[in-house]
Amino acid sequence: MSLSSARSASGTASRVRAGRMDSHQFGDRLLLGLVILLAILWTVPLVWVLGLSFKPNDVLMHSTGGILSAPFTLKNYADILASSNVFTWILNSIIVSGGQTVLTLVVCSLAGYGFARTEFPFKGVIFALVLAGLAVPEQAIVIPLFKMFADINLHNTYAALILPRLAVPFGVFLMTQYFRAVPREIEEAALLDNASRLKIFLVVVLPLSIPAQATLGIYTFLASWNDYLWPLISASKPEMFTLTVGLASTQMNFAQSEGIGFLMAQAIFAGLPILILYLFFQRHIVTAVAGTTVR
């Protein structure tokens, strides 16, 4: 090959590379633009709610537009601190969601380890029954559940809000699969290291399942925090409302009560704990979502 033809070939190659680079960069920019657009679309309602929460109620009675123009007020937030039940509802939600998360992790981990590593009669059948729970819609069991808790006089208690949600077939399945993936040799090494079965579970296997625990914990907490149907049915006293039920109750009374600005301030206030939780556990939440959707 002559020098000139070599140069020409090398020029062609670099043009092809540049062309590829350009189309690659264009794709990236298009994707970035789309993501920004979607983020804006998703953020607009939140910004709207935030803006409305700083507007006086009497102004909002006339129009809910113009959130960026004066007048602004902090009265809606001051009213929350002074009069609203929202603190009680947030506390209830924290107790219920926190309790549910901790207990779900305990139950699902133990059940998962049992299914993954121990042998007992009818294990396959019992595991299939647990998984069958995935196919039963929540609405189908509401009435028997309501009657059961009514019979034992537990409605309007934390126990009634937490206990029915501890049966999490997905959680058992997730933990079972995770424990199955832990190399058996690690547990055998622990057996040779004189560890009891309980110690192996607590000290060797459980710490290895932290990623799965984080996934399950985050999902459970978020699902519990946003749960509406069962708390609406079980908690009839306002002091036992969770945040979702409490906020819904104020929206229903909107016409004769606090006004839209106050309502928006309540929504912002209610969203703060979950926002803080997200900021702290952002990495785990992203991993959890990615881990369960992209296999």
Partner: protein, 361 residues
């Protein structure tokens, strides 16, 4: 340092018998290698000694104590797994100390033993690291260290070199052998790799289908295989097998007729062979045959493998039988050439129909 005794050990998985009644004695301080192909039951046997697999029948004694009813942690053995099986969330120091803490050993004693094991294995600088931060070879050392700190009656190694690359495997092999020399402990090493077995063992136990084919020193196993299976399993390239007929030999030694009609004298005493031997198989290792222009066996070279220090010639005998022959590293023999071969009669083996071996005295 304990003696290990297996008496009538049997293992069945459902109806499948993996180990039919097997008895074996391993002396204190011995480096015994359980060698065999995949699925021969060698790992199962080791796991039964460790207590990780229940016996269907039989007894296991370690250090004079019957242990087959005891849980793994109380048998006085330590095991090094193929995958290392380190606790990923614990530091190297914690990995070493975990077993000692579980038996309630004093902190000072744990620290002393951990330091000493780390010193022997040259992993003192790694004690605070997690297994994820270690290379394969370092992980292997930690796994061995975890066994050393326990000062067990016996070390059990379950193919611990399989996950290492060739160079590291060779180095670790020497280190384990050196460790055995230094500690003088009883070690049982499971492998399917004959090189590992030959280089490390004081005694090799060759297993096939759950049965012991032969027990002996590495050279004994190599030079005087008890069965055709052992003869074929040991040695790379493997022993050549040729169907032969018996002929009247001189001086009380057997003579055989090769497929092409060539007679070959062996060093095997005729009286050792069964009178109704019938069809026999000749076993000859590649290095027992040499290229010799005056040799009695004529062959055609089909393929030549130059390995540097030696050359392997793949040849065809007049009857069509194939043979691998070892030649010098600088061999000039080329494919397609017709050559003559000679065999060292003292290094020939005969196998009867039941695959029993007959070797020169």
């Amino acid at each position: 340092m304990g003696r290990i005794e297996l008496v009538g050990v049997t293992k069945r998985f459902g109806t499948a018998e993996v180990i039919p009644e097997l008895s074996l004695e391993i002396e204190p301080g011995e480096f015994a290698v359980l060698l065999g192909p995949s699925g021969c039951g060698k790992s199962t046997l080791l796991r039964m000694m460790a207590g990780l697999e229940a016996l269907t029948a039989g007894e296991i004694h370690i250090g004079g104590r019957r242990v087959d009813g005891l849980p793994p942690g109380q048998r006085g053995v330590a095991m090094v797994f193929q995958s290392y099986a380190l606790y990923p969330h614990m530091s190297v120091a914690d990995n070493l100390a975990f077993g000692l803490r579980n038996i309630g050993m004093a902190k000072e004693e744990i620290a002393t033993r951990t330091r000493e094991a780390a010193r022997i294995l040259e992993i003192e600088h790694l004690l605070e690291r997690k297994p994820m931060q270690l290379s394969g070879g370092q992980r292997q050392r930690v796994a061995i260290g975890r066994a050393i700190v326990k000062e067990p009656q016996a070390f059990l190694f379950d193919e611990p070199l399989s996950n290492l690359d060739a160079a590291l495997r060779a180095r670790t092999r020497v280190e384990i052998a050196r460790l055995h020399q230094r500690m003088g402990s009883t070690m049982i090493f499971v492998t399917h790799d004959q090189v590992e077995a030959m280089t490390m063992a004081t005694r090799i136990v060759v297993l096939n289908k759950g049965r012991i084919e032969q027990i002996g020193s590495p050279l004994e196993i190599y030079r005087r295989p008890a069965t055709r299976f052992v003869a074929g399993f040991i040695g790379t390239p493997g022993m050549n097998f040729l169907p032969v007929d018996m002929a009247e030999g001189a001086g009380g030694h057997a003579e055989v007729v090769l497929p092409g009609g060539t007679r070959l004298a062996t060093g095997i005493p005729s009286r050792n062979l069964p009178s109704n031997a019938g069809s026999l198989t000749l076993g000859v290792r590649p290095e027992a045959v040499r290229v010799n222009p005056d040799g009695p066996v004529k062959a055609e070279v089909e393929f030549v493998e130059h390995l540097g220090d030696r050359t392997h010639l793949h040849v065809a005998l007049p009857g069509g039988a194939q043979l691998v022959v070892e030649d010098a590293g600088e061999s000039v023999v080329r494919a397609g050439e017709h050559i003559a071969l000679t065999a060292d009669g003292a290094r020939l083996h005969l196998f009867d129909a039941a695959d029993r071996a007959y070797s020169a005295a």
